[in-house]
């Protein structure tokens, strides 16, 4: 501890605290440009100069640690004139074209000059200019280097947080221009974090260019509607159009960072394709008519012939009310929240990831000695979670192990990267467990165990070498605490969950602290499960009468046993792994009600379509993958006659039971608190708070442990693929794209501008072997389907693995799949062959 004096006030802080942080703690504001918590300190801008008694020169407080007994002045006249001097120099060559600068009104330089600056400049020479016109760096970024203050935050955020290294500084001194090579982006993630950190109007958003002034915008503090990282952001509108989404420093677990989907993808709510009025057999109708038709369709039907599927993009309140409607009003246990995987997979995953034990903070996970990421392409699926992993893992001594068939950006931070075959998570985890167990044996026994035929089988099934597995096992055995980050592959290939559960138990038995954090790809997937939108448990994972999941509902529909199906926000046809089956089955449902914001493939078959609300038009709560309950806020008015989903679900309930409720989101939340012990303490007040010292881990938002005990999961047949294949054949995997996730992103103009057509990603070596080059059109042919897609190569992926993202309409990836057939094989050939 060090005791120092700041402006005469005595304060005691930890050793090595920066003067800046100490001063802020003591309540003194010091202006900064280049300092940002979480980024490497470079002390380049000199805005934060302070006077230290006994030292002749002023010192930058953002890189100078305190020393015991220091006496510091932060607001003497010397400091004030130094600040004014720094600003005068910054303005010497600054473009100062505020009237046309998009940053005007929220510019840190404007604020600083206003507060500390010289009122006049003395520089008479013509200003130096990098360029005349703003230049476009990428589809989302436009740049004007003449306004740069050389703080290098853009360069640092790109390298240290995003991990892309696209930006660098060209030139020296005040002629130094932070930009990209050739002023074009080669391999940019388009997340716009450089825009967000830039204190001036140098990096600017292209989609927001010349649209507004900050004071015209009305904002709402909300949660990103894409993946389950649950980034907090502010969405802002002008004249009813959502214009931008931005993150805030020190708010939410993401602080100032977002990914491309969150920052640029929210404009889907403006889409002209929104459904704005109720439709009965695709004819416009009034709400009264539509509801009367729903009443007809559901009246007199038996619960077991009724089903309901609600998307994991709805709020907890809506999901809770939905399952209440299905269970109590319709007497039907047939409820599900996803059509991509079956409910047993979900149960097994919840069990293996101990989700019923309450929330797990990602920041806690990153305290572990070893972090194992498996079953998730975290770099594309949960980009901001990946930023957090990168940022923290580069700052402390720890093991980061990544097991995935596909190479990813985070590999560069990993100590061990394991490339296994698709759907082989179980084999990988079992092999690791086997080696860890063998570690307890003597040397001779160990050799024998490893040579054991079971081990050989596992290694072949996983397509990995024994050394890699032993290395991982060694690192795990040597760690006191282990965190396992388990992704959506466990839901696609649920046999892996038993491997996960086993490894978790083995490590626990060895006396280690083990935490498992799930990563999910729908904003409220966890909430959907915890609200009981699942055929075998109710809210808070309480045991419930077993019903049918989406898959079973489709099978029953195929047999003509489904009289009425209520689908909210889910596009079963596009998501179910076997498109043709889903379409035929749904067309056999006698009465199909679809509530959605866009005309989805499923909605096209509906008898009644009810127009719902997007995340920006309602209030409620999402639970992210860690189990943080966070609130979303209403910003926009509903388009046309659309209604909030909660109101629609309640109106449907009231058709059959006049007292169905609760009547509004607040009361529903009260009821959730009562019936779901995990949510008994949830309050939506605390989670919008800004914290000044950059503590991003808001633990109060984490949900608590569930009351009941989850039944252990059953065994699943392995769907692993063998590595023996013909020359052109690949194992096809799918998942989220960095720019596209689910269906909303396909209605976002900006994201469509980034990538429109489907891509198929294979590893570089395979491409070279087959003579393909990145960017060419190839034909991907499976047993059931073929598509044309643009080839993308990746360095370091497992050979013979082809990846087609889920979201693209021109490559309906679920057409390649057939029920019960596991990972499909596809062949890739030149398009014109």
């Amino acid at each position: 501890m060090a005791t120092i004096k700041i402006n005469g006030k005595e304060i005691t802080v930890e050793d090595n605290t920066l003067i800046l942080d100490a001063a802020r703690k003591a309540g003194y504001e010091i202006p900064t440009f280049c300092y940002q918590a979480d980024l490497m300190g470079i002390g380049s801008c000199r805005m934060c100069l302070v006077e230290i008694e006994g030292q002749r020169k002023l010192q930058p407080s953002c890189i100078t640690p305190v020393l015991h007994g220091m006496s510091i002045n932060t607001d003497s006249s010397t400091v004030a004139s130094a600040r004014a001097g720094v600003l005068e120099f910054l303005l010497a060559n600054h473009a100062l074209d505020c009237p046309v600068c998009d940053k005007g009104g929220e510019c840190e330089l404007q604020d600083m000059v206003h507060k500390y600056g010289p009122r006049t400049g003395r520089h008479a020479e013509p200003k130096f200019k990098f360029h005349e016109k703003d230049y476009v760096l990428s589809q989302v970024i436009i740049k004007n280097s003449n306004r740069c203050v050389q703080c290098m935050k853009c360069v640092r955020v790109c390298r240290e947080v995003v991990g892309r290294n696209v930006l660098g500084a060209l030139g020296r001194g005040d002629h130094q221009e932070p930009t990209s090579f050739n002023r074009t982006f080669l391999d940019c993630d388009m997340d716009g974090n450089c825009i967000e950190v830039c204190p001036v109007g140098c990096f600017m958003r292209l989609p927001y260019r010349y649209k507004s002034r900050p004071w015209d915008l009305k904002g709402a503090d909300t949660i990103c509607p894409y993946c389950a990282t649950g980034c907090r952001m502010v969405i802002e509108e002008r004249d009813g159009q959502l214009l931008r989404a931005r993150a805030q420093l020190g708010v939410g677990l993401n602080s100032e960072t977002l990914c491309a989907r969150g920052r640029f993808g929210c404009d889907f709510v403006n889409s002209a394709e929104r459904i704005t009025k109720p439709l009965i057999r695709h004819q416009a109708a009034t709400w009264a008519e539509a509801l009367a038709s729903v009443k007809d369709g559901f009246s007199g039907k038996e619960g077991k012939h009724i089903g309901g599927v609600a998307a994991a993009t709805l709020t907890n309140e809506e999901l809770y009310l939905f399952q209440k409607l299905m269970r109590t009003v319709f007497g039907s246990p047939n409820i599900d929240s996803s059509s991509r995987w079956n409910s047993d997979a979900a149960s097994a995953f919840i069990h293996a990831a101990s989700m019923n034990e309450g929330g797990v903070s990602i920041f806690d996970c990153m305290e572990a000695d070893t972090v194992l990421i498996i079953g998730s392409h975290i770099s594309d699926e949960n980009p901001v979670s990946e930023y957090i992993v990168r940022r923290i893992s580069s700052n402390r001594r720890m093991n980061l192990i990544i097991a995935s068939p596909r190479a990813m950006k985070l590999d560069s931070s990993a100590n061990v990267k394991l490339r296994h075959l698709p759907a082989a998570e179980k084999a990988v985890l079992d092999a690791i467990t086997l080696v860890i167990n063998a570690g307890k044996l003597s040397e001779a026994e160990k050799l024998k165990a490893i040579k054991d035929s079971k081990m050989v089988d596992l290694l072949t099934a996983a397509g990995v070498g024994v050394d890699e597995i032993t290395d991982i096992a060694k690192r795990l055995s040597a760690s006191q605490s282990v965190a396992i980050v388990a992704g959506t592959e466990f839901l696609r290939f649920p046999d892996g969950t038993s491997g996960l559960a086993l490894l978790k138990d083995v490590l626990k038995n060895l006396g280690k602290k083990v935490t498992v954090m799930p990563t999910l790809d729908r904003c409220n997937q966890r909430g959907a499960w915890e609200m009981g939108v699942h055929p075998s448990f109710g809210p808070g994972y309480a045991t419930a009468e077993k019903g049918m999941d989406t898959e079973a509902l489709l099978e029953a529909a195929m047999r003509g046993e489904i009289d009425a199906l209520y689908v909210v926000g889910e596009d079963i046809i596009s998501d179910y792994p076997d498109r043709e089956f889903a379409r035929t089955a749904l067309s056999k449902v006698r009465f199909l009600v679809v509530q959605d914001i866009f005309m989805s493939e499923t909605a096209k078959l509906a008898h009644v379509i009810l127009p719902g609300a997007s995340f920006s038009e309602k209030e409620g709560m999402f639970t992210n993958q860690e189990g943080r309950a966070q609130s979303i806020r209403k910003l926009l008015a509903l388009p046309g006659k659309a209604k909030r989903d909660l109101d629609i679900i309640r109106a449907v309930g009231e058709l059959f039971d006049g007292s169905f409720g609760p009547k509004n989101a607040v009361l529903v939340l009260d009821e959730i608190r009562q019936v779901n012990p995990m949510y008994s303490d949830v309050s939506l007040l605390f989670n919008n708070k800004k914290n000044s010292d950059n503590r991003l881990d808001n633990r109060a938002a984490l949900v608590k442990c569930a009351a009941g005990v989850l039944p252990a999961a059953g065994e699943f047949a392995s769907k692993a693929v063998s590595s023996r294949m013909e020359e052109h054949s690949f194992a096809l995997v799918t998942g989220s794209h960095l720019f596209h996730l689910g269906r909303f992103s396909r209605k976002s103009e900006t994201l469509l501008g980034l990538i429109k057509g489907a891509t198929v990603e294979i590893c570089e070596d395979d491409a070279a072997r087959l003579g393909f080059v990145s960017g060419e059109k190839v034909k991907v042919k499976g047993k059931n389907h073929e598509v044309l897609a643009t080839l993308k190569t990746s360095t370091g992926s497992k050979s013979r693995v082809a990846f087609i993202p889920e979201s693209f309409e021109d490559a309906e990836v679920n057409r390649f799949f057939r029920r019960g057939e596991g990972v499909p094989r596809v062949s890739i050939t030149r398009a014109n062959q």
Binding site: D97, C98, P99, V100, G104, K133, D134, R209, Y210, K211, S212, R213, W215, D216, D239
Partner: protein, 192 residues
């Protein structure tokens, strides 16, 4: 009061007898009767052309190359105490404006405006200036909002005329409304 203490004021009495106040008043009346009239025969025959400093309906201006001066910075909007200006910017680098940022929408609600001129002061490019038009009466609310296209039209009274003049005018009434057109070639100085 003290000098009036002695009962009847002699001076007052004399004034009353001689009708002094009456004559004074009458002199002013008669004087105006024979002096030159300063009433404008507006709108039938004459119209007042104000000085340049007059604060009438807004004008949007161009530079010498005909490019719009407004860069849609919205500072006038911010400065306006009655929030009667709406500006929506857009990008246009075809040379329409002096910068690639131009106004997509620029409109002002004239019945909310209090002609304070703050918008003029705020404008960094002197694009908006309060002009010399003051005839705002109309029978329809539509005419209370002026938009960019109208405000960019050349002014009926050119900048070169200093103002402070009375011009011959014609009053026209048509279906589209009433109009007082001044004949700028026939002007006279104000009478005082």
């Amino acid at each position: 009061m003290s000098d009036k203490k002695g009962g009847i004021d002699i001076l007052d009495l004399i004034k009353k007898v001689l009708f002094t106040d009456f004559v004074k008043g009458l002199r002013i009346t008669l004087g105006y009767n024979v002096s030159k009239s300063i009433t404008h025969r507006y709108p039938d025959e004459e119209k007042w052309i104000p000085y340049r400093r007059f604060r009438g309906v807004h004008t949007l201006n161009r530079d010498e190359h005909g490019r719009e001066l407004c860069v849609a910075c919205e500072l006038c909007v911010k400065a306006c105490p009655t929030s009667c200006i709406t500006v929506v910017p857009m990008e246009d680098d075809t040379g329409r404006g002096i910068a690639d940022r131009v106004a997509k929408i620029w409109k002002v609600n004239l019945v909310r405006c209090l002609y304070c001129g703050y918008c003029e002061d705020a404008c960094p490019t002197r694009a908006v200036r309060l002009g010399r038009e003051y005839e705002l009466a109309c029978a329809d609310f539509k005419c209370t909002v002026r938009n960019r296209e109208e405000l960019l039209l050349p002014q009926p009274v050119p900048e070169s005329i200093e103002g402070g003049l009375v011009a011959k005018a014609k009053f026209e009434r048509s279906l589209s409304g009433i109009k007082v057109t001044a004949d700028l070639s026939a002007t006279k100085k104000r009478a005082w």
